[in-house]
Symmetry: C3
């Protein structure tokens, strides 16, 4: 049992649920692959007018499933496959979806959760939601395409605080910083998202798809690898070998300390 | 009588008034052409140091003049002419103006109003002003150059909410989202704009023109078609045929339902 | 005595102090050159994990040292050398630094102060700090690379208000506008910055450097002249001769009026 991505369509609205019981819906590799499949199917579904992404049991997504990390993170090739094929494959499928996507964000929204939320058009959060990407505690940097995505959506200041300071923010702070469409008291979030999805689904569906295609084109690409085209074409060594850190002591120390439930020593 | 754009120069300040009585200053095609002429004249006027744009009778601009839409919107060529020549011609003339532009925003600031405000450097709004671009109710998307402009000024999140959710925002919300320079109680807006225009006009005029030219160059273009150059060079079909939706049922239904004062059925 | 940039390393944290007693730490030409040297040394120092930039005696930096301006500003070649070699040399060294940089901002943060703060990753300010770049009173525009930098960090709206309206903002306003990481009551700023620097220094140092390299690459360049590459390649005359205003009456009037302690007449 390594979690699941559940999908249900009700009228013209598709409901995507991130589910990993006992792990605050942390994303396993199987879940990343399933997330891609769900959005590829959504994109191909002509009757769909709105998609909602939410997490099971009061949390959105707490990050990656760290219990899987020792199996692939410490070798450059397998680390690249994870980030560029599995994670980015799913995020790209979300970015390439022409149907408006609403994020319903409650509880933990960390790391992978921030990345998934960054692919949603409208973000509704509960007051008690918490946001961050404290991977500096785990000894590794954010992969380039993922960093490009979250920096664009969070703003550079918030991205730097999450990555360099391991900062965690409240929903209220994230609204001020422009990441959230609105923040509601916890027991109103579900109703607001339901009403918003119904309203979005009642509006002109072809216009919505054309607007999403236009807004995507403004980001200089089709949600595919063009997102980082200028960076990839630039001279920084980090982008020629962004996964060369895989086998370093620092990376191993960060991940193993977490698994051993002790403080890392960097 | 299809509205007018009035211009008056007092000392070094030019006052542009959007005027369409009975229609909350909705922009007719004649008004778009007049707006272009006014700003081309302003740009060529050496004594001008500041321009203010405001609306007549307590509203900025409620959008486009929908009563004209059936005459040109449902045919691709005439729709393209409207967006790329008339609307963009006016917005480009504003963007190309080297003199600082202040928007005085009261009441309705919707659709075309948001686009015109997006070409202004400093935006002062009254507390009761309202902002949106609910064209998804009218069955059509935003034209690409206009979408590029408002997304840059509104931020992507707010642009998506306006276009995909048909959201309408208060002045206070728009200040938090970074679109407004300041918000004032309604009866103080006129005095604040007058004082701001006087202050701007007292500062070094050559420095202001050089700063505007520099800031415009940072947007990778001269306010002309370079604004969307990366998007236009990209692969998205939407940008190869952005007006092919002209004759679709959805578009016609949205516009006709509005004119017939009934709910559209999409 | 024309001010100094002081550096002290304590454990893994480097403390940079902008110091120009009696002038609120205004940057002299010697200080720009020293700032560059300090950051080039920091970048080459393997044991460093965090840098703090602060000002002496309760102010960050009040701008440039205007008493030096008559010696070089009114001739195009020497003005270019000042902006492109001395000022940009220092700012580029800060942008090229792979170690996280924290700004501790108290009191005046004007002109050069805003530019220096714009090169810092995390910005902590005291409630009484004030921000602006009122060079329109001095009769000159912002140099292109500096305008690109501050526009990116301040947002275009705030940059326009500072440059076109000579607006000055409180710390609270600058936090809302997304420029500051947090604002604290005045006597808590020093402790917060110390704690933040200690926390940053305790996190994975290689991951921090890789994250900074990635985030820098996203800005389409290495902190060098690529920052303005699209603008420089564009057609605007201002960027072909950005310092041609050096010998104009307006420029001389602005600087001389300030030195003579009188209102300029533009």
């Amino acid at each position: 049992m390594s979690g699941s991505i559940d999908f249900e369509q009700i009228a013209a609205v598709g409901w995507v649920t991130i589910s990993h019981p006992g792990k605050f819906n942390a994303m396993s590799r199987a879940m990343w692959r399933a997330l891609r499949s769900v959005f590829e199917a959504a994109q191909a579904s002509p009757g769909l007018r709105c998609v909602v992404v939410r997490g099971r049991d009061g949390h959105f997504c707490a990050g990656g499933d760290i219990s899987e990390y020792t199996a692939f993170r410490f070798e450059e090739a397998s680390l690249r496959t994870f980030h560029e094929d599995e994670v980015w494959g799913a995020l790209q499928a979300m970015l390439a979806c022409d149907v408006p996507i609403i994020a319903q964000i409650e509880g933990h929204c960390m790391g992978a959760g921030v990345e998934i939320a960054s692919c949603c058009d409208i973000r509704v959060a509960s007051q008690s939601a918490r946001f961050g990407a404290p991977i500096a505690r785990l000894g590794f940097p954010m992969a380039p395409r993922e960093a490009a995505l979250v920096t664009r959506e969070l703003g550079a200041m918030t991205a730097r605080q999450m990555l360099l300071e391991a900062a965690v923010f409240t929903a209220s702070e994230m609204a001020t910083r422009g990441f959230l469409s609105r923040v509601l008291v916890d027991d109103r979030v579900g109703q607001d998202v339901h009403d918003t999805a119904t309203r979005v689904a009642s509006l002109a569906p072809q216009a919505a798809r054309l607007n999403k295609q236009t807004l995507r084109a403004l980001n200089a690409g089709d949600g595919n690898d063009l997102l980082l085209s200028s960076a990839i074409n630039s001279v920084a060594d980090v982008l020629r070998a962004p996964y060369a850190y895989a086998s370093t002591d620092e990376h191993r120390e960060g991940v193993m300390a977490f698994i051993d439930k002790r403080q890392p020593r960097f």
